[in-house]
């Protein structure tokens, strides 16, 4: 019956409770800094930029005292996808990548590898590793509650413009609170339907219609039970005097320290530098310089 223990799947991120500079950062500043570094990763498409980014990301791992194995654990499931994508890129007729001139560097029958394709493969692999490690880092140094408070704090200035900051944060808190509850609910539904003779699990890739039909007696009751629960929750919240974010006080007050401002400034400077330096030219200059030796 261990296949029915859904509760053990209902984990989101793995918070690693060690104290470190990154753990102690104000969540608002951490999220902003994270977004800046992610932006730098998303828009960097050269070899040199990605080498710098990889080094930066691993420096951050060291700073946050999360073990390297833990930081890299998300990379492993991505490897088959990456391999598949690389093979796919090589087998496809060479793409032009925005009209840029590409040189053929390897050919075998109709299979052609241009330098553009090679760069695309290497850069997207590096980018994926950087992003996976960064997100693992964020969720392993920040609890989900801290993340919700952080998002609320960041959106608070926009509250006057009608952005529901408090409501959004409360929504996330409710969602996190109810994931285990609904997992148990789902477990109960699955067991009930199996007791009635239903069959679950996937029927194999080629019988997706069957798999889909097996999902219906699971998903429909799950949604209905969830909606019913949300009505009860709304009633319970009102019964306890909840009327929205206005005038509410909080047990946890976020206070930024000088170190937080410093970290954010560093992230901003890093992002601006990564987006403005012409790495293609710099890379060629570096290669020429290294070529002298």
């Amino acid at each position: 019956m261990s296949t029915f223990e859904f509760l053990r799947y209902a984990t989101l991120g793995q918070y690693v409770p060690v104290g470190s500079l990154v753990h102690r950062m104000d969540p608002r500043f951490k999220i902003l800094a994270f977004a800046l570094v992610v932006a730098a990763v998303t828009f960097s498409g050269t070899y040199l930029a990605n080498v710098i980014l990889l080094l930066t990301v691993f420096l951050l791992v060291a700073l946050s005292r999360v073990s390297l194995g833990q930081a890299l654990q998300g990379v492993r499931p991505a490897l088959p996808v990456l391999a598949f994508l690389a093979v796919f890129q090589v087998l496809l007729p060479p793409q032009t990548f925005g009209g840029e001139a590409c040189n053929l560097i390897w050919q075998w029958g109709f299979v052609e590898l241009t330098d553009c394709t090679l760069r695309f493969i290497v850069v997207s692999t590096a980018r994926l590793i950087e992003l996976i490690v960064l997100t693992t880092l964020l969720t392993s140094t920040t609890t989900m509650a801290e993340l919700a408070y952080g998002v609320e704090g960041l959106l608070a200035p926009f509250q006057r413009m009608g952005v529901p900051a408090h409501e959004a944060a409360l929504t996330v808190t409710i969602a996190l609170r109810f994931v285990p509850t609904l997992a148990l609910q789902m477990e109960r539904i699955v067991k009930a339907q199996i007791a009635r003779g239903a069959d679950f699990g996937t029927a194999g890739r080629f019988r997706f219609v069957k798999t889909t039909r097996r999902l219906l007696p699971l998903l429909v009751p799950l949604f209905l039970a969830g909606l019913r629960r949300s009505e009860n929750l709304a009633l319970a919240m009102e019964a306890r005097g909840y009327t929205g974010g206005k005038g509410r006080t909080r047990r946890v007050k976020l206070r930024a320290r000088p170190a937080d401002y410093l970290a954010l400034a560093a992230a901003a400077a890093f992002c601006i530098a990564m987006l403005n330096v012409d790495f293609a030219t710099l890379g060629r200059a570096l290669a020429a310089w290294l070529g002298q030796f």
Partner: protein, 186 residues
């Protein structure tokens, strides 16, 4: 009276509660071994994770659909292991529109026939997800247009069918919309 099961609570509080629960369902479908993904012969899985955003948009309006979609996007970005969805532009932006377009389709057709409106709305919401994800994927250079069109046909259409069936069943049961066939409401 169309929403007989609604307790007499304020719109704001009910919206918060419904959004929270539907986001929880999204997360749950994404993490449990059963429910979120349907393996397809092509090797890529069809998803049901966008359905809570559609249902939220239909039942409680576009802000709810928008927020559920945003949370779905963030969740899929944080958990993604493929380069496509590890790109915040692909993972987050398209998802914010699922519930919004679903809501608009529902509002537009509600007067004609409510059940039809729900079905069309689910189809529109799913098409929004597929179309925007693939569209941005093409713009960002992850795939070319012909590949995107193939994926849209092989996955978009089955996903639309699944979404329509589930959404219609859930919304009809929840709102207790009478069906011509009668019988059980679930």
């Amino acid at each position: 009276m169309e929403m007989t099961r609604k307790a007499n609570t304020s719109t704001l509080v009910r919206r918060i509660a419904v959004t929270g629960i539907l986001v929880a369902i999204t997360v749950l479908l994404g993490t449990l071994p059963v429910g979120g993904f349907i393996p397809f012969p092509t090797g890529v899985n069809a998803t049901t994770l966008h359905i809570p955003a559609i249902i939220g948009g239909i039942l409680e309006g576009w802000p709810v659909g928008w927020l559920i979609g945003l949370c779905f996007g963030l969740f899929s970005f944080l958990r993604a292991t493929s380069p496509l969805f590890k790109d915040p532009l692909v993972a987050i932006i398209p998802r914010m529109f699922i519930g919004v377009t679903a809501y608009l389709a529902y509002r537009g057709l509600k007067r004609v026939n409510e059940l039809l409106a729900v079905g069309v709305s689910a189809a529109v919401g799913t098409a929004t997800n597929t179309g925007l994800v693939l569209g941005i994927a093409v713009l960002r250079g992850y795939m070319d247009i012909s590949l995107a069109a193939t994926v849209a046909a092989t996955h978009g259409i089955p996903e639309i069918i699944v979404a329509v069936v589930i959404t219609v069943a859930v919304v009809a049961a929840w709102k207790q919309i009478a069906r011509r066939s009668g019988g059980s409401s679930v």
